[in-house]
């Protein structure tokens, strides 16, 4: 059952002249009860605006938002039964941690004993019991962040909204807080909508991920589905770090079957023999231009691949080698295309060294160059 539904949701910011800026462009999205939905995309893609419209902090220009079956377009934020965690925490600087967490309950005129019980329960859950009397400025970034989360959970709302809550934390803190929020979701069993521009957060935390670009939804799917079967070049390039490599080329016929031939005027273009489902998809594009997408981890040093097969290897030149410890990021080029391979760190690589790279063909994706959609 959809718990939060966005129907043809539009947000237009008026301009002095012209039709206005369409920050959100008629999106449809269904978020299930108890789901952890992540809205992800580059800055300016409309994800925060969408979240703020769900919160009621932005007026809706068109469409409808329903929460638990009720259209809330004109319902005040306080009456939507939602809580929000802000990017910079938005803690009240003049109130103690306890008062910050109790504020919403106090305004809703809960009895004092109930407020106290809820605040202490949340504080225990978040490890804030020792800090209840402190003011926010006496807390570290991570602690402030937990207070902001605590302020949301004491209200026991129907829906939690998170607006890039980790982006002000340092890298280490971010990783641990990420896990804490995931645990919290499991424990509270609540519906959560989480906005981030960080695809790692999206991949690790979301039950489903909604990728947005320019006010449109590009794809909504579970994390691995999104990673393994991106619907478009944008999604493929956005999810994953380093991002997917793209090679422009054509599908041509050969005696062995359909072949992807790289566009390369500077060196001998590489050829990839297409088989299985990939060949079926490519059949309609025979003799036409396509884009071939390969994730860095699917491009391996042939020396380390047990059974490279024929027609799956290409020659490339090392531009830079970045040893990461367990693996090495090789920045390579074929003459026409620069790409990245994430290879095992068994042997060192020298700059300008020639290497033979094998693509794991069952993981290679093809895209239409005009629509940028996956074949």
């Amino acid at each position: 059952m959809a718990f939060v539904t966005l129907n043809n949701l539009v947000k237009v910011y008026p301009e002095k002249s012209g039709p206005g800026i369409r920050a959100v462009n008629g999106i449809d999205l269904e978020i299930k009860e108890r789901e952890f939905m992540v809205l992800v995309g580059p800055s300016g893609c409309g994800k925060s605006t969408t979240l703020r419209m769900i919160a009621g902090l932005e007026d809706i220009s068109g469409g409808a938002i329903t929460i638990a079956g009720e259209v809330v377009n004109h319902v005040q934020p306080k009456d939507r039964d939602i809580a929000m965690v802000f990017q910079n925490y938005a803690l009240y600087p003049h109130m103690s941690v306890y008062e910050n967490m109790a504020f919403g309950l106090k305004l809703r005129k809960y009895p004092k004993t109930e407020i106290d019980a809820r605040v202490r329960e949340a504080a225990t859950m978040l490890g804030l019991t020792d800090y209840l009397d402190r003011k926010p400025k006496a807390l570290s970034g991570g602690q402030r962040q937990r207070v902001a989360v605590g302020r949301a959970i004491v209200r026991k709302p129907k829906v939690f909204l998170f607006d890039e809550p980790l982006s002000n934390l340092d890298a280490k803190m971010r990783v641990s807080t990420r896990a804490e929020i995931s645990k919290l979701h499991a424990r509270l069993d609540a519906t959560m909508i989480y906005v981030t521009h960080d695809q790692v957060e999206a991949m690790t935390m979301g039950d489903r991920i909604c990728v947005m670009k320019d006010g449109n939804i590009m794809q909504v799917a579970e994390p691995l589905e999104l990673y393994n079967h991106p619907a478009s070049m944008f999604v493929a390039g956005f999810m994953g770090s380093p991002p997917m490599n793209f090679f422009k080329g054509r599908i041509t016929r050969s005696p062995h079957g359909l072949v992807f031939v790289e566009d390369n005027s500077k060196a001998a273009p590489f050829q990839l023999l297409l088989g299985g489902p990939l060949a079926e998809k490519a059949a309609a594009y025979a003799d036409r231009a396509v884009v071939c997408g390969v994730r860095p981890e699917d491009a391996q040093d042939t020396a380390t691949v047990a059974n490279p097969g024929t027609g799956h290897t290409i020659d490339a030149v090392v531009e830079i080698s970045e040893p990461m410890g367990p693996e090495t990021f090789l920045h390579l080029h074929t003459g026409a295309h620069a790409f990245t391979a994430r290879v095992r760190a068994s042997n060192p690589f020298a700059i300008n060294q020639k290497v033979e790279i094998t693509f794991l063909m069952d993981r290679v994706r093809l895209f239409d160059p005009d629509t940028e959609k996956a074949l």
């Binding site: 809580a83 938005a90 009240y92 504020f103 305004l107 809703r108």
Partner: protein, 282 residues
């Protein structure tokens, strides 16, 4: 003079010439106060014989103070009423107005703001005649409420002007968080704006109180009955009636200044904090 510590903690050499200049100005400023105070203990004979130097405390004429207190006691009571209600009203309304301009974006609010600022360019005195006829129509002439109401209205532009920018600088997220927490506009003002703008509100409070305490033109025009007189107008008439009794007049002046000095001493910390707030964002 010994070296003084500057704000950032580094030692600086003190600066003789500038200190001399400051002391010079201070003496010029303080001289009338000194004269007022020391003359308030003299009768006319000793004042004429020795106008400049204070007499020994043993010969102080406390009768002047007794007289002054009885004379202007009712004026002080009236002034306390006008200044206190007026100041609370002024700041209360100004906070609401400033909050509106800072946080509520409605169509034409910019035009409203421009019209509002235009009022600041208008010298207050030009208003006097229309104000008088308006108060007459409202049957408010010769009442203290006229002073309170006009005082509140005329102080809005300046106070809103100052407060608006202060409130705009408060993080927007705080207001949104409060909105999500269920706070209405008035609750946001009470729980967010007032505590976080305390220094500037304190400063404006003192400035408004001072202005109302020292108000003279409006009470002079509005008030007719002597028992309604506020200090400004009361002391003004005092000057004419008791010119010859310098000691008594000066005692009355001294008494009228004391409540202000007390208010100021209590609020000094706030005042300085408010004036320098914004200089260093903290």
């Amino acid at each position: 003079m010994s070296p003084v510590r500057s704000i950032d903690g580094s030692r600086q050499r003190s600066d003789w010439p500038s200190h001399l200049i400051i002391w010079g100005f201070l003496l010029i400023e303080l001289f009338p106060l000194y004269m007022m105070f020391q003359v308030s203990f003299k009768d006319n004979a000793s004042f004429i014989a020795n106008p400049w130097l204070p007499t020994s405390p043993a010969t102080w004429n406390w009768g002047n103070w007794d007289f002054g207190l009885r004379l202007i006691g009712p004026y002080i009571a009236n002034t306390v009423f006008v200044a206190t209600t007026g100041t609370i009203g002024t700041i209360g309304f100004a906070i609401c107005g400033a909050y509106f301009f800072a946080r509520c974006k409605l169509p034409f609010s910019d035009a409203l703001w421009a019209a509002f600022l235009l009022l600041m360019l208008l010298p207050g005195v030009t208003n006097i005649v229309p104000l008088f006829t308006q108060l007459k129509d409202l049957n408010l002439l010769n009442t203290l409420w006229a002073l309170v109401i006009v005082g509140i209205a005329s102080a809005q532009v300046f106070n809103i002007f100052v407060l608006r920018h202060f409130i705009e600088d408060l993080p927007k997220d705080l207001f949104e968080a409060a909105e999500m927490d269920g706070a209405g506009h008035l609750q946001r003002i009470w729980h967010i704006v007032i505590p976080l703008s305390a220094p500037i509100i304190g400063t404006l409070f003192i400035l408004a109180f001072l202005a109302k305490w020292n108000e003279i033109l409006l009470p002079l025009i509005v008030l007719r009955d002597k028992e309604l007189f506020t200090l400004g107008v009361g002391l003004f008439y005092l000057d004419g009636e008791y010119t010859k009794q310098w000691g008594q007049v000066m005692a009355a002046y001294s008494i009228s200044a004391i409540p202000l000095i007390i208010v100021f001493l209590f609020a000094m910390r706030f005042f300085v904090k408010g004036l320098s707030s914004g200089a260093v964002k903290g």
